[in-house]
């Protein structure tokens, strides 16, 4: 294509390039890149979801009916990798890309070209990862945690390691971009303690990402050299230690868990005040709670390893540190409830998902507290109780927050209202079936069913069948979501107002719907009463 044509488009400073390749592949626009991230996350969500359907279909009844155990293990491994690195994290980055500049009054992200690069690495990383399914030897089957020596037996290790390197580079660049944007690009008057909680949560998350993604990269590189270059980091035969890997992995892995939940806290702290029409309760406490959870996430990693035979002192320390996290998390939950108290609530779809988040995430937190108790964890560890726990915090936690955010900001993105009826259909189906899916898994774990097994004793049959039925219907309910999105973006006639929601506050609602290609070319004037948390003096 001619240079002149490109130049013409850029002269028109308020329009997107007309050429598809120019617009989406060469984009430096935070909104378009945010859209790319969100679409990518949605695609990965359905791919990872289809793996989950295979898992639940095989577990529908005792006996092996559909797949070989080794393929089953590939499904559990890839389900986790795709959902964590392909769906949840890119969805949050996409939301951050779209909303952070709009919320702090910046014209774009601080490093727009790096923004393009950090997105376009992702599809390559996932092609690399998912291609292993079609190669001799199959995909990774040692669990997403890739514990050696088992992971070293896999013939796809190199593919997975390089895919993780690419994802890590993407995440680090994304995080640097977000920190640079938040610290340098805020409109005059947007003091740090006037920023929306969502922006705060992303600022803290971005620091976590920069801190731990290199640790993961190091750990998987050591796997790679152990397998192919004769090192013995984790090989006891050469003086190495398999447990060393677990320490390094979980030093990444636990902050990673909070990388997937802190932006969700931010989202919920935006949605609830909007639909309660009341400022967030305890703004500073909310920010401080996020920061303290982020700090604690670095000193609790070995609670994933209570059964490896840690020294007694280590088990006690990691138990206490883990239990401590309940305090700031409790503060957040109490503050959300207090935000609702005395409000004037309406229950549009984003609010419904946010309320479901508060209840169901708290249930996941409760089982987390139970898991922190070392002697009880000797029983829970590596059972379906753990599976239930982390799906409550990740599906009804992180995913519900992402869905809530999507409904909340979708009218701002596409300029049209989604169908409230179908949104509510999506909500009620999701919230019912997700509990049918995951709640019985608590019982399975307590009764003694280990996780990551393709077949089980007949005593576990009833709850597995119930769980699978819930799984299929929860999966099907997400097709409603897809329908609602397609309808809202291309077919809805219902134009969104600029404010969209009666109680919406914050800079993103001062720009037109849909948000123009370029916003805040001139920094906005910040008035405290426009901000979500009103006058903050506490």
């Amino acid at each position: 294509m001619s240079h002149a044509a490109t130049h013409d488009h850029h002269d028109d400073h308020h329009g997107a390039p007309k050429n598809f390749f120019q617009r989406w592949c060469m984009s430096t626009n935070h909104k378009d890149i945010g859209t790319l991230y969100l679409v990518f996350a949605l695609v990965m969500f359905f791919i990872g979801g289809s793996f989950a359907m295979v898992i639940r279909a095989e577990l529908f009844k005792p006996g092996l009916q559909l797949v070989q155990p080794y393929f089953f293990n590939q499904m559990t491994t890839l389900h986790a990798l795709v959902m964590i690195f392909g769906a949840i994290m890119p969805a949050f980055v996409g939301l951050g890309n779209w909303m952070i500049p709009l919320m702090v009054g910046a014209p774009d992200m601080a490093l727009p070209r790096m923004n393009n690069l950090s997105f376009w690495i992702m599809p390559f990383a996932f092609v690399l990862l998912l291609s292993t399914l079609f190669l001799p030897g199959g995909g990774p089957a040692g669990g997403w945690t890739m514990y050696p020596p088992l992971s070293l037996q896999s013939s796809s290790l190199a593919y997975v390691v390089f895919a993780i390197h690419l994802m890590g580079i993407s995440s680090i660049m994304g995080a640097i971009n977000i920190i640079a944007t938040i610290l340098n690009m805020r409109a005059p008057g947007m003091d740090l303690l006037k920023m929306p909680v969502f922006v705060w949560s992303w600022l803290i998350t971005a620091f976590l990402l920069i801190a731990v993604m290199p640790v993961l990269a190091g750990a998987v590189t050591m796997l790679l050299t152990d397998k192919y270059f004769g090192t013995n980091f984790f090989n006891p035969g050469g003086g190495g230690d398999p447990v060393l890997y677990q320490h390094i992995f979980w030093f990444f892995g636990h902050p990673e868990v909070y990388i997937m939940i802190l932006p969700a806290f931010g989202i919920i702290s935006e949605v609830i005040p909007t639909f309660a029409r009341k400022p967030i309760f305890g703004y500073k406490a909310m920010v401080f709670a996020i920061a303290s959870i982020a700090f604690l996430s670095f000193i609790v990693w070995a609670h994933h390893m209570f059964a490896v035979g840690l020294p007694m002192g280590a088990e006690i320390f990691f138990m206490y540190a883990t239990m401590l996290i309940a305090v700031p998390t409790g503060v957040k939950v109490f503050n959300w409830v207090s935000t609702m108290w005395g409000g004037s609530m309406t229950f549009e779809t984003p609010m419904l998902f946010a309320i479901a988040f508060v209840i169901l995430f708290t249930i996941g937190g409760f089982s987390g507290l139970m898991l922190a108790l070392v002697p009880a964890d000797f029983q829970y560890h590596d059972t379906y109780f753990v599976v239930a726990h982390f799906h409550y915090v990740l599906v009804t936690g992180a995913l519900f927050a992402i869905i809530s955010a999507t409904y909340y900001w979708l009218p701002k993105w596409c300029g049209h209202m989604y169908s409230e009826f179908w949104g509510k259909m999506h909500f009620w189906n999701s919230v019912v079936w997700v509990n049918v899916l995951f709640f019985p898994q608590h019982f399975l774990g307590l009764a003694g069913m280990p996780r990551r097994i393709p077949d089980y004793n007949v005593a576990f049959a009833n709850f597995n069948m119930i769980s699978s039925i819930g799984g299929f219907l929860f999966g099907a309910s997400q097709l409603i979501f897809l329908g609602v999105l397609i309808h809202a973006i291309w077919f809805s006639k219902n134009k969104a107002t600029d404010r969209v929601w009666e109680g919406a506050k914050g800079l993103e609602w001062t720009v037109p719907s849909p948000a123009p290609f370029h916003t805040f070319d001139v920094p906005p004037v910040i008035r405290d009463e426009d901000l979500a948390h009103g006058h903050v003096n506490d």
């Binding site: 514990y147 006891p236 050469g238 447990v243 400022p279 059964a307 035979g309 305090v327 003694g448």
Partner: protein, 316 residues
């Protein structure tokens, strides 16, 4: 619904009642089992009670928090004419709901700490069994009993044949048909169980030969990883004779789901007799010449080959 499945529903309903009303304490998992089992060792009540207490605490907090939330959702809805208030903080409340959780947590931590210290104390054991995890079976070697070393008593323990045939993809065999007596033992039975005495403090030293496994019998109250190059230690003291079943609890490859653990606890005299028989088989009473012991060696090798160097002992 076939008559078989109706019969099954009746049995499950009966089992459900048994679980709910606490009778017929069985170490096996039961259909519709809702809670952890209390277990059958002198220590296994610790995780069970912690589980129940922490669950109770969560239920109470849940009722308070979700109750407040539902009241808020009912009282403060716009459709009932609620007008939003302006306040956004309350220092006194915030101090209260930070302090109360701290007190609850300290209480739970106190009991859990006691449980850890009693679990970690493997001293004073009267018997030692070495457990080695393999892909995908277990090996048990008897090291000592009542202060006397045991030589050459050890064996592999793997999934029973009937479960193994049934679990093949497309076997067409019914998992419900795998039974041992009245128990459904599909994937929970082995060819040769670990035999131990009751009322004896047994120290397990646990290691792995290839990848990491985890040795878990729920009725004993704990699981512990079997890691190549590391020997972990834990103990149990089983109260009643019986059969206690468990499974590998750390993903160890394709047949991770198919390497169960069965512990048969016998009375002390029965166990002594069994052990004497095994020792007699392994060590013929007449002063055997060298060729005889060589012949017996592959089956009864004392030390299983582990990957690499001599293992370091870690105190659990």
């Amino acid at each position: 619904m076939t008559s078989g499945s109706i019969r099954r529903s009746f049995t499950t309903a009966a089992a459900l009642a048994a679980v709910l009303f606490g009778s017929a304490a069985s170490a096996d998992p039961s259909p519709y089992q809702l809670n952890m089992q209390p277990g059958g060792s002198t220590w296994s009540h610790v995780p069970y009670e912690l589980n129940n207490w922490s669950f109770g605490v969560c239920v109470v907090i849940g009722i308070l928090v979700f109750g407040a939330m539902f009241i808020a959702m009912f009282r403060f809805r716009k459709s009932r004419g609620a007008v939003a208030e302006k306040w956004s903080h309350n220092t006194k409340l915030e101090i209260i709901w930070t302090t109360i959780p701290v007190i609850i947590l300290i209480t739970l931590a106190y009991f859990a700490t006691g449980g850890i210290t009693s679990w970690a104390d493997t001293t004073g054991s009267q018997m030692t069994v070495k457990v080695t995890g393999y892909q995908w079976k277990w090996r048990y070697d008897y090291v000592d009993y009542l202060g006397k070393p045991i030589s050459k008593v050890g064996f592999m323990s793997k999934l029973d044949t009937q479960s193994d045939q049934t679990r093949q993809l497309g076997s067409g065999m019914d998992p419900y048909a795998v039974k041992s007596g009245n128990e459904s033992t599909y994937l929970l039975d082995v060819d040769k169980p670990l035999i131990v005495p009751v009322g004896t403090k047994i120290r397990f030293v646990i290691t792995g030969a290839d990848v990491i496994h985890s040795w878990w019998v729920p009725a004993l109250g704990w699981k512990l990883d079997a890691i190549p190059g590391i020997v972990n230690a834990a103990w149990t003291n089983i109260k009643e004779p019986g059969i206690y079943r468990g499974q590998c609890a750390e993903l160890c490859g394709q047949d991770h789901g198919f390497m169960p653990i069965v512990v048969v606890a016998k009375s002390k005299p029965d166990f002594a007799r069994w052990l004497a028989d095994e020792q007699a088989k392994a060590n013929p009473p007449t002063a055997a010449p060298a060729p005889a012991s060589t012949a017996a060696a592959p089956k009864t090798a004392q030390i299983a080959p582990t990957a690499g160097k001599p293992a370091t002992v870690k105190q659990g």
